[in-house]
Symmetry: C2
Subunit: 396 residues, 2 copies
């Protein structure tokens, strides 16, 4: 995102670099960044995906008549009574297509993004009768929003307790993010947790970011539209939940917090996911989302690694690869964030260094990590990513 | 809603009572209720409005292309950065049209329903450095969800403290619901609150429910699509907030809870509100939402009061009326809920009595009130309302 600009109204300067945009078509060519603009890569805004949906054209539009979806209830008899049946059907279909998570025997709970569902899951796993709040942990570096989200209301049921590696035993709730935000690492729970005390945040476990190496089948698994199709503004996530009582408690949390989840978002997401899966069911269809996104990510990571290698100023986590059961080939991981470490002796705060060059990123200390690291969004529009590469190249 | 049925798929039995449906066109004639079905009037599901939007036809449809609204950001430079500018514009336009609330000088914060915003407002008004949680109160009978929503996480910042009439002083946050849920009463704050410690829940302050007697200009005023146009499934509310810092804290709460609000819902609501206001700008347009809804409510309240008078089993709050600056006539109040009191000596629990006759409603004790009272939703589809009247008539 470009600071001070509105992100969705085409008010950005037009580029004259049509040739380059043809080579790397992740973003429409009309969107580019003014030379002196500050670029904001703090959030994981997935605007890279706009190009795919623009290319796909009118058939991607959802049409919602004025009278549709007016009731609070999507499925009055269902466990999660605010879950649209057609959205649920397409979510299960997509997981079966990709093979990244088990759906049979799982309850599906919909939420206003994975953000609401991670809180719902923590709530559901917290003992209702404890004398003091249960600790919530994740191994550092961990997603920077876990701590402030968990402690937003200073709940009497749970409290953020920090780095899981500094803990022992089984008396905590562990957030397991894999591939990990911010560093892309593949993770398993580090605590010898009692059954049912881990929450698997798998929002990046999709083929464009990492080889799909198996069908995950954890107790609670979180996903979100934002990181699959790029529809962050839709604010729609889901949880696959093994235990009925946990699913009921999560549903209760979403009910009390927001009386359910936008049905408009669910209707739109159902349409979007239908198009994604249909393209893989039809051998002749070349408009395939995961193929597009993986090409973009490969291109960007190649450019970033080349820049990092040429300047010698920074380092990145080593590239990993594996056999992907979805693409049926060995592919590298292309994380949604770059966990960039400044290697220059004199620099102790990488965030400040980048800010001085017009690049905003979250500093490593927010992730329980090192201030010599920053987390950089890899999913922005091409024009913004190009500026990132230019500016990193110029740092000495 | 009919128990065990899905509310939106037309699976209900078809009526043969076409004539009656023509007389009272609040619901499409094809939706009716089986004679032995349990009707659920516990929630305020506003499905009465479906008839209006079906009648309005295709022009009410919103079309959202696949590439639209993908970013987290609706208005990156704005205070409430997840607020769609066209939605904000139509909200302000509607308040100016109706004259029910001041908008000039107010900040607008959007939320996932008024539910999320009441929590955001409580959060924003709670002292960050208090030794113990601040009490949250409302005069009984109060909206039954206030208590469980407030205490969902047992926050260290605030805690539900019950009936405002049992309190004194100025050390509480007061929720002022007017017209009041459940009894339709017009209310002002009862505590001698310090400035900025009252939250005005004005979700029913619209011409179909009560005469608009003045332009409300409180510090925090909450509204929701559900109770204006009937779009409950859209999960969209807004707060008009006088103080900049309070608006910022509320925005922070929504950010941390759900990273903003569905842009799809906002785009759809902008379209819906545009149609509502346009109809009043055009002298020839007869498809006017508030006129439709007021006719439905007048019809229903007349039927309900006649039934209550004829059986002698129940009583209702007295009808009030006033000069409405919007309709420019003296009109009665037609509350969205009936606060029905059982007058039969032998009955101590009105909820149980109604349940025995296939009518589910919330018992008065949930509202801090009397178990001889129940709250009955007045906004259901015609078929359901007709069954309510039939069943009330049959109780002896």
């Amino acid at each position: 995102m470009v600071e001070g600009s509105r992100s969705d109204n085409g008010s950005l300067a037009r580029t004259t670099d049509g040739e380059r945009s043809q080579q790397r078509p992740c973003t429409p060519p009309e969107l580019a960044v003014a030379p002196d603009a500050v670029i904001n890569l703090e959030l994981g805004d997935p605007t890279m995906y706009e190009a795919f949906w623009k290319e796909a054209g009118e058939r991607t539009a959802v049409v919602i008549p004025g009278w549709r979806g007016m009731s609070y209830f999507s499925d009055a008899g269902g466990l999660c009574w605010f879950l649209e049946p057609e959205f649920e059907r397409e979510v299960r279909r997509l997981h079966r297509l990709v093979g990244n998570a088990a759906v049979d025997g799982y309850h599906l709970v919909v939420g206003t993004g994975a953000t609401q569902l991670s809180q719902a899951a923590i709530y559901a796993l917290s003992p209702a009768d404890a004398n003091h709040p249960i600790g919530v942990v994740s191994p550092a570096p961990y997603y920077s929003a876990y701590a402030p989200q968990t402690d937003l209301l200073l709940s009497g049921f749970y409290r953020w307790a920090g780095d899981a590696n500094a803990m022992g035993g089984d008396s905590h709730i562990e957030l397991v993010c894999s591939p990990n935000n911010p560093d892309g690492a593949i993770r398993e729970a580090v605590l010898s947790s009692k059954p049912g005390k881990a929450i698997h945040d798998l929002v990046y476990y999709w083929p464009q970011y990492t080889p799909i190496t198996g069908t995950a089948a954890h107790d609670i698994m979180l996903f979100t539209m934002s990181k699959i199709t790029g529809h962050a503004g839709t604010r729609l996530g889901w949880a696959l939940v093994k235990d009925l009582e946990v699913a009921k408690k999560m549903t209760y949390f979403v009910d009390r917090s927001t009386i359910g989840v936008s049905r408009d978002s669910q209707l739109r997401a159902a349409k979007i996911l239908t198009l994604v899966s249909d393209a893989y069911d039809d051998d002749k269809d070349t408009r395939r989302l995961f193929d597009f996104a993986q090409r973009c990510m490969a291109d960007r990571w190649q450019a970033l690694r080349a820049t990092v290698a040429s300047t010698g100023m920074f380092s990145l986590p080593e590239e990993t690869s594996g056999y992907c059961t979805f693409t049926k080939q060995i592919v590298p991981a292309y994380p949604a964030f770059a966990w960039l470490r400044c290697e220059k002796e004199s620099v102790e705060n990488c965030r400040e260094l980048l800010r001085g060059h017009g690049v905003l990123a979250q500093g490593g200390e927010l992730f329980g990590g090192d201030a010599r690291c920053v987390r950089v969004n890899m999913l922005e529009r091409d024009g913004v990513f190009d500026v990132l590469i230019q500016r990193l190249s110029s740092i000495e």
